[in-house]
Structure formats: structure tokens, C-alpha cells
Symmetry: C2
Subunit: 441 residues, 2 copies
């Protein structure tokens, strides 16, 4: 299609068709996509092979990081996992047409709040081509039309996947042609951000600077997170074995993701006993420690460590680095997290239920965790099926966002000639406002 404005307009029209497509039709389209991806495996992997080869050369020239190469490569079990993921989205409960609340306003006048799609989503993601499949299928299952822009390095793979998906759904019942469109150039992203009338939500998936750029350059609502500065707080009443396990998992289980922990806070009363054990376990995993004055006093004689600057408390390392701060009490831990954190995911290790309750209530983050790793904050682990991303917004959806996060509701009011005038003036009727266990259909 010629340009982004036309694509956005076509997406809006498609979204109105898709919003009233039945769940059966949407699941049939998803099944067709899964089968087509299986049948066209060679075609997609050939395109992917070209992308991977070009990226390999760029890595050799030092123009690209090695980990990107791994994320780009779809061959082997990753392709099967991608198809399996489409089938798992089919198996998710129907997100649309669900009656959330039913209220009798008066005899014969019933109000239903019913889930509907948001409309048109613009999703901009980085180089993992399996993300294209996942996001497009989440949009389809939730009845949203999608404008998608993937990473430059995966351009051939994404184009092949998008072709397979749109061919598979062409002509199916209830399926508008432009339910998804793939954008190609960077200049198209800029144009996308101006399509306020036709795009209802932008979901950027990528690094801090990229997300900040998107947020600062559009009037369209943006759902996502710019940073993931997550904390573990080891309380004075912590079980130290658990503390070691949780800190090591939160920091090292996968360092380059947003729910990995970047700062450890330790209660002053247990710092002498806890810090050497934790430091030992982390250094065995190759983690560099950056310490405040008190932590430094405890650890510097026995470990290779650095001093932290204030900048460290605001830094998302996404690497084998951890900043460490000794705090006087729970209140100081909460204050540190609310001040320096990114309201993403923060965990407390303690055996004291009241202390945990206070932490979980007062820490102002999308996910708050007691005696478990910050790494659990993820759509799959939370049981949402797949996820389109993790939100640190304070509106609509917070934390991992699955199908429900891609819906909104409309109010449906069924009457039989009711007028407002009869509830006012002389001898007015009264509202009953009775909750019903009823579903609109």
C-alpha cells in the first residue's frame, strides 16, 4: 500500500469488521496461520537464513552485537515453538463479548458492560521475528487491527512471515484483508506516530531510549515501559538461604531483560551476615558489585568490588552488574525504591508477614513480590498466555499485558421505550440499580 496514512485508514476500517467477527472466525484464522507457518517453513527459514547471514557479517565487522544474532535466528526448535505459541493463543479464553457487569436500572431497563477490542494498535518491536507472530496473533485473537514494524535486521524474515500470515487468512469468513500490515522503513514509524485519528494505542518494545523517543513524539497513548530498574530488598527478618537464592535468580537468571534486578537493598541489622554470602554467590556467577559506603565497608576486604555513585541507583544495567545499598529500615527501602525505581517489579525477602504486607502495599510498582524472584513478572509465568509487553503505565494495563489488556468495554443499554423525563419532575420513577448475573448476547 502506498503510505502509512492509507495503511492506518485501512486498518481502522478493518478493525470495525474485526470487532464484530465471531470468536470462531478469529480462531479459525489463527488455526489457518499455524498451519500455513508449518507448511511454509522452508520459505520463512530461507528468508531468515539470509537475514542471519547478513547479521553474522555485521557482527564480524563489529556493527552488531552477538546476542542479537541468537534472537534473530528462527531455525530449529524456535520455529516449532513459534507455531506452538499460535496454537496456545487459540486455546486462550475468548476475550471479547464478555459481560463484565450487568445491572438492572429499572424494570425492563438493563445495562451490560461488555468487552470489546481497543481498535487499531501500532506495535514497534525489535529484531526477534517470532515477536511478529506472537503480537499479530494476540491482536487477531483480541479483535484489534495491527500495524506492525519490526527490526531492520529481520526485514526479510518479517516480510516472509507477514506474507504467509496474510495469505493464510485471505478470504476467510469475517477476516478483513487489512487486519494486519507490516511497515517497512524507519521513516514509516515517524509517520505512524502522527496517525492519531486511526491508531488507538502504540506499543513500543525495545530499549529505554527508543521507548522514550516514541513517548515524546506522539499524542497517541503509548503502553509499555521505558526502564526496568527492579529491586530485591533483604529484610532483617529474611531467611538468608532464600535471600541468596532469590537475589541470584533475580540478578542472573537472564540479565538482559527488564524484570532482572539491578539494585539490592539490605537491612542494616543483617548486612554483616547477609552481604558476604550474597556477594560470594554473585561473584561465582560473574556479577560485578557496586556498593554504597556501608556495603563497601563490609565487603571490600574480601571481595573485588566498586563504589556506587548516585547514578548507579538510576541505572538499568541489563548486564552482570548489581548496585547494593544498606538501608536502616523498611521505610528507607520503600523510599529508595519509590524514588529510584521504575515502578516495574520489586521484591522483599522476609519471614515477617506484617513487614511483607507493608512493603507490598507501599511500594508503588506494577508487580510487588514477596519471597520470590523479580523474574516471575512475565505474561507466560503469570498465566496470561503470551504477552504483548510489560506496562509501567498507571492507566488501563499495568505489568505484563496479555489478551485482556488489549480489550476495553462498551456499555450496552436495553430498554423498552424508557425516557429520562419519567425519573424526574412530579411522581418520578426510581432506579433499582440491582446487580444481575446476566450476560448480553
Amino acid at each position: 500500500m502506498a503510505n502509512v496514512a492509507e495503511m492506518a485508514q485501512a486498518a481502522r476500517a478493518a478493525s470495525q469488521q474485526l470487532a464484530v467477527a465471531s470468536g470462531l472466525s478469529r480462531n479459525a484464522a489463527l488455526a489457518a496461520i499455524a498451519s500455513a507457518l508449518e507448511a511454509q517453513r522452508a520459505r520463512v527459514l530461507e528468508a531468515n537464513g539470509l537475514d542471519v547471514e547478513e547479521a553474522r557479517q555485521m557482527v564480524e565487522r563489529g556493527e552488531l552485537d552477538q546476542p542479537l544474532l541468537k534472537r534473530l535466528d528462527l531455525s530449529g526448535s524456535k520455529y516449532d515453538a513459534t507455531v506452538a505459541m499460535v496454537r496456545s493463543i487459540i486455546a486462550q479464553p475468548e476475550p471479547l463479548g464478555q459481560t463484565q457487569v450487568a445491572t438492572e436500572l429499572d424494570e425492563g431497563l438493563v445495562l451490560y458492560r461488555v468487552s470489546v477490542p481497543i481498535g487499531v494498535l501500532g506495535v514497534i518491536f525489535e529484531s526477534r521475528p517470532d515477536a511478529l507472530v506472537q503480537i499479530a496473533c494476540l491482536c487477531l485473537k483480541s479483535g484489534n487491527a495491527a500495524l506492525l514494524k519490526g527490526g531492520r535486521e529481520a526485514a526479510r524474515t518479517n516480510a516472509a512471515i507477514a506474507e504467509v500470515m496474510t495469505e493464510a487468512t485471505k478470504g476467510l469468513v469475517d477476516m478483513p484483508e487489512h487486519w494486519m500490515s507490516l511497515l517497512e522503513g524507519r521513516e514509516e514509524v515517524r509517520a505512524l506516530l502522527d496517525e492519531h485519528d486511526h491508531i488507538d494505542l502504540i506499543i513500543p518494545r525495545g530499549g529505554n531510549e527508543f521507548v522514550q523517543y516514541i513517548m515524546n513524539n506522539t499524542n497517541i497513548p503509548v503502553m509499555g515501559h521505558a526502564g526496568g530498574i527492579c529491586h530485591v530488598y533483604v529484610d532483617s527478618a529474611a531467611d538468608l538461604d532464600r535471600a541468596v537464592d532469590i537475589v541470584v535468580d533475580s540478578k542472573t537468571q537472564y540479565v538482559s531483560v527488564c524484570n532482572a534486578t539491578e539494585t539490592l537493598l539490605v537491612h542494616a541489622e543483617v548486612a554483616d551476615s547477609a552481604l558476604p554470602r550474597i556477594a560470594k554467590a554473585l561473584q561465582d556467577k560473574g556479577v560485578e558489585l557496586r556498593l554504597d559506603e556501608r556495603a563497601h565497608a563490609i565487603l571490600s576486604s574480601a571481595f573485588q568490588v566498586k563504589r556506587a555513585s548516585e547514578e548507579d541507583w538510576k541505572t538499568e544495567y541489563l548486564d552482570y552488574v548489581l548496585s547494593v545499598c544498606v538501608v536502616d529500615d523498611l521505610a528507607a527501602a520503600v523510599a529508595h525504591i519509590n524514588r529510584f525505581g521504575s515502578h516495574h517489579t520489586d521484591s522483599i525477602v522476609t519471614e515477617d508477614g506484617d513487614t511483607a504486607k507493608t512493603f507490598l502495599s507501599q511500594v508503588d510498582s506494577a508487580s510487588v513480590v514477596h519471597n520470590a524472584s523479580t523474574r516471575f513478572a512475565d505474561g507466560f509465568r503469570y498465566g496470561l498466555g503470551a504477552e504483548v509487553g510489560i506496562s509501567t503505565n498507571r492507566l488501563h494495563s499495568r505489568g505484563p499485558v496479555g489478551l485482556e489488556g488489549l480489550t476495553i468495554y462498551k456499555y450496552v443499554l436495553e430498554g423498552n421505550g424508557h425516557t429520562v423525563a419519567s425519573y424526574e419532575g412530579d411522581a418520578p420513577r426510581s432506579f433499582t440499580h440491582k446487580k444481575l448475573d446476566a450476560h448480553w448476547k
Copy 2:
């Protein structure tokens, strides 16, 4: 307080205290406000009298519209109604700390989704001073700190009310001093719009241009509606008695509000019979009709009418004016509404259930209505208690917004030492993802 930046910062700090205030404390504060408003009636009404007197002079000089005077005047039963409204907010169900979903992720690892306040709200409203009480009390009940800016004409009344409210809550358990602050000048609104870090949501209540100005001049999310271009569609299977009642109510029950109907659509098959009856009833109420070609052909011989231009389909009259269009079928009616409407509230009059279902599904509006007036779209009538406004957003809250619309959720994860590493690698544990009927407390 010196300036808006400081007020916003104080509001953020207050919001963190208010977020963990108990429901008992918040209700006690509301009860104190209700009693103080009763006790200080004379003080508030004296200030209100000065505002009303000044406004009366402005009306005489033609600088202000007459209806504003009525909205400004708090004396008589309106004052009692305002106090009663505070008590009705106390009686609303507790919006915070509600467990929306509980999921066992694995043995001993349970995830709760719990309702929490949004944070800090900036609310800008017009001259009705009872709106100040209503909005501040909704914010307090839902645990949100509020920065409020009322209309210039109500400045003395608003100042007196704000003083009474803050005095009443001073020193109460769990009540931070700056839970609400009143802004005074217009330049402060401009400054408010820049406080991205400390304000989570702006709610503007006012006319189209004003709301558009707010939406175009801030990066803070805005909840509200710029226009209320509502429709009634009289279908070929309509009961014409009902049609007359519903059109008259939707248009004339209160013309200056957003849920009043601005355009009537009539199916061509019943236009000859329906239009003269509807026109007669509307002209008895003093409604001016602006007609498309076909409606004009039917009505122009017997009624005083005008021709509509395309501009009329996009106009929110907020007055005794109605545009009328004859449409060929249901699809044309839906297309007209989705193209020219403001996605606010639209009604169909028909005795055909399938036609109604299609209309209610396909019309892309916050409220869709069958055989009832558009005027029902209102927080009180919908059983939400009071409302902070009506939203045509497609995110977070749609339609009338009550207490629930001022909340979001956080995920609370309770474990006993769980790490993500044990769910990967050799012999990984599996997630159970079992829905529980449990509540976090």
C-alpha cells in the same frame, strides 16, 4: 503553596500516603467533610452569594450567559443535595484493595491482581461549584490525590469549599495534608499540563474547544470527551410511539449536556409516517429542525424547517436544534454514526431483536442503547454513584466514569523462596496456573 510544581510534588507525596490509607480512614474523612459542609453552610453560601452577584452583573452586561448563573448558585436545596452526595459516596462499595484475579502459579506461589489508586489526578472543571465537592470526594474515596481547578466565576465559592474540606480533614488518621489542592489562575492550568512526572491523569470537564486545548497541550494522559454528537436511529421496525418518546427525551430532556441527541436518523421505509409525528412533537418543544434532502421533501410543506449542510452532521448544538437524515438501511445508519459521531452514546429504536443486536455491536461508541433515551448515559443513572465525567477514550475507562474508573491494579506475588531458574533447564518444574477464589489481605 508557592507554585504548581511544588503543589504537584506535594500531591505525589500525599498520594503515596493516601494509597495505603484504610477504607475506614477515607470514609471517616468523607464523613467529616459532610459534617463540616453542613456546619459551615453560611460561610460557603456567603462566598457563593458574592460570586452569584458578580455573575448577575456580568449577565446584565451581556458578558455571561444566563444558564451559567443557575449552575453557579448553590443556595436552597442544591446545597443539601451536595452534602447528600458526599454521604452517598461514603456508601459506595470500597474501590481499593479488591482482589480482581487470584492465580496459583505453583505450589506456594500465588499471584493476586489487586485494585489500587491511579495516583495524582488533575481535574479542570467549569463553573458548577458542587462539581468541586463531588470530584474531590470521588478522588478521596478512591485514594487519589487531586489538583483541582474550577471556573473563574466560582472562585470565591470554590476557595471557601476547599478551605472547609481541608480544615475538616486536617489531622485525621491516614489523611495527608495535601490530599487536595485548589489551583487558582488560568496560568496555573498551563503549568499543570507540564507536570508529567507528578500527575498521572488529567480530567477536563468543559466544552469541546477547552477539552481539545487540554488534549493538544499535554503529554499527560487525558480522560474525557471533546464532543457529544449523539444519535437516535429510528429503524423500519420501530414502534412509532416509542420512537416519538425516545427522540423527544433524547433531544429535549436537557439540551445543554453531552448525552443529548444532536442527529436523528430515520429508515427510508418509515420516514413518511415517522417524521411528521416526530416533527410535530419536537416543534411543540420548540426544536428547530435541519433536514437532509429526503426529510425536507417530507416535512417542508407542513413544518417550518431548514436544510442541513454537511457541517450539521458534525455539530454538537447543545441547544433546541436537531439535524435529521433519512437513511436507506441499518448499514447506512451505522456508517453515518461511526463517521460523524463522537463515539459517545447512540440509540436505536426497533422491535426487531436481530437489527438491534447488529446496531449495538457495530456502532463504535462508549454507550449503545436499544429502545431507550441517550440521556441515560450518566454515572448516577448507570448505578456508578457519582461520576467524574464521561470518557470517549478507548483505553482504561469508557463512558460514565465512577470510582472504579479512578483505580488501576497492581500484581502482588507471594512465594516462599521461588526462583525462575527451577522452571527451566533439566527437570524443570511446571506452572499450575490454577484460578483461585482467594483474596489478598
